[in-house]
């Protein structure tokens, strides 16, 4: 009797899941499609609208060429190699500036966050520097450093320095004093408190700074390459416009957007690895 009782529900359940299998897959696929649409629907719609508007003639195709022409120009530039040199030199400029900003801002920010008197002394001048547009200072840097690579790298460095410095400083200052007291109760030295509590606690805030700085680096890269450069993605955007190679201009813009996305994603991935305990804010 018991056997029968056990048997029956099992058969019913098995047959139910068999017939439902196909439907489940369909359901699952539908859900994935829905999720894709809810996330990328507007972007896809924008691209489709662009393509249609340009090819049908709602907008001037000479100014806003259809997507397929832009993709073709992009493919030619990348596969043909004519844009690769520009990408390399741009990455070099932004990379050196970003690395220098990291090397200066993080140690200085950690120091400023720890030592109140240093922060008090440096804060006013840093606020003045920060509020002065780096682009406005670019002519000054050109006068001081010449029109070559140095002034370009320096203006990017200058602009990337502040977001990182301020976020590092505030990250250190905002570490929970209750955690610091806890560490002190266990007899931790100042160095140990810094290494085991302050530094890991500041990491999420440092990453906010890193991502802001990466965005700023690309922004300033393009601006600096529009003046007195003969290579680089920013130069290509300007140059293509002068020569009315509009698809190529858009191709260069697409590369820029791609670099920005890649830099951001790389930093998000790094943050995920370094601190699984705190989710990066997107």
């Amino acid at each position: 009797m018991t056997l029968q009782h056990i048997d029956r529900p099992i058969t019913i359940r098995a047959s139910r899941s068999e017939t439902g299998l196909g439907r489940d897959f369909l359901h699952l696929g539908g859900r994935a499609a829905l999720r894709f649409l809810s996330r990328y629907g507007v972007l896809v719609g924008f691209l489709v609208l662009w393509q249609v508007a340009s090819s049908v003639g709602w907008v001037n195709a000479a100014v806003l060429p259809p997507i397929d022409m832009i993709v073709a120009a992009l493919w030619k530039g990348l596969a043909g190699g004519s844009l690769l040199g520009d990408i390399a030199i741009s990455l070099q400029r932004a990379g050196i500036a970003f690395a220098a900003a990291v090397a200066v801002a993080i140690p200085l920010g950690l120091f400023m966050g720890q030592v109140r008197s240093v922060e008090t002394a440096l804060d006013p001048i840093l606020q003045v520097f920060r509020q002065t547009s780096a682009l406005a200072l670019y002519p000054v840097f050109i006068l001081l450093l010449g029109l070559g690579e140095t002034s370009k790298v320096f203006v990017i460095f200058w602009a990337t320095l502040f977001p990182l410095l301020l976020n590092t400083t505030s990250g250190v200052k905002e570490v929970d004093p209750k955690l610091l007291e806890m560490a002190r109760v266990y007899g931790a030295s100042r160095l140990t408190v810094f290494r085991r509590v302050v530094l890991p606690g500041a990491v999420p805030s440092i990453f906010v700074g890193l991502r802001l700085s990466a965005t700023t680096a690309l922004l300033l890269l393009i601006a600096s390459e529009m003046i007195g450069a003969n290579k680089g993605i920013g130069f290509q955007v300007m140059n293509a416009q002068y020569n009315f190679q509009i698809p190529l201009m858009f191709a260069a813009i697409v590369i820029l957007a791609g670099l920005g996305l890649i830099a951001n994603q790389a930093l998000v991935a790094l943050q995920r690895r370094l601190c699984r305990w705190s989710k990066p804010v997107n």
Partner: protein, 254 residues
């Protein structure tokens, strides 16, 4: 429970402490004298503003007295010390460390090699019943579990004196009762002097050998009440209830 030869004797002499609040001097502790016996469980109660947390923080070495002082096993206290551990009202866990990492933290900070520290940490994680969660992160724990991690961290450094600042104050009523039982068990197993601040009178009677009642008004005297009940204690027992009434009377509430 007393009479161990482990140490953990606390002697408080003429202890006074006041704060300035809006230009006014506010005395919270006035020439307090008290001997805490080795291995005893002393629970401090008092209305808010009576200085109970201040007293505990002075014992911990986190604050200094205006006059008078504290000696532990005859040695005057200056700052924090390895023979004391503190359990705060909040668990105060490092969010980037696992349960194991957090419990081992106190030892590692004192220079115990990581492997040895973690080995000892595992013992105390088991003692508070969290072995399955050794690799979990604080964000994954409930309030009661997180507080038990904090307790395990304090026990891992094997202090002579355990100072608890309203350790169960933030927990819900059910969890709280379970944790009180757990604290009573840990105290009897670990042979440690326990000084605990609470605002929960039942908790005080459940755990204490003696209850210290701090006065709120100027000129009032601190009072000590012996809780002479067998352990484990029964909350519904008539003598337990009588102690409760006695404490309530002290606060003018009965």
């Amino acid at each position: 429970m007393t009479g161990t030869n482990r140490g953990g004797e606390v002697s408080i002499r003429d202890l006074s402490k006041s704060f300035s609040l809006g230009g006014r001097q506010l005395a919270v502790l006035r020439t307090l004298n008290l001997e805490i016996r080795s291995g005893e469980c002393l629970v401090i109660v008092g209305a808010s503003g009576s200085g109970k947390t201040t007293l505990l923080r002075i014992l911990a070495g986190l604050e200094t007295a205006d006059s008078g002082g504290v000696a532990i096993d005859g040695q005057p206290v200056h700052g924090v010390g390895a023979e004391r551990a503190v359990i705060f009202q909040e668990p105060r866990l490092l969010p980037w460390l696992s349960v194991l990492g957090n419990v081992a933290f106190g030892l590692e900070v004192r220079g115990v090699p990581k492997q040895e520290a973690e080995e000892r940490a595992r013992f105390y994680i088991a003692l508070v019943g969290l072995s399955e969660f050794a690799d979990a992160f604080p964000s994954q724990l409930s309030g009661g579990m997180a507080q038990r991690v904090g307790i395990a961290r304090a026990l891992t450094v094997q202090p002579e004196i355990l100072l608890l600042d309203e350790p169960l104050g933030a927990l819900d009523a059910m969890t709280k009762i379970g944790m009180q039982e757990e604290l009573a068990r840990i105290w009897s197993e670990e042979n440690v002097t326990m000084v605990m601040v609470t605002h929960d009178l039942e908790e005080a009677i459940y755990l204490a050998d003696r209850v210290l009642i701090l006065p709120k008004e100027k000129g009032g005297a601190a009072r000590l009440i012996d809780i002479d009940l067998p352990r484990p204690r029964e909350r519904s027992e008539s003598r337990f209830v009588r102690y409760r009434e006695e404490l309530l009377r002290e606060f003018g509430l009965h």
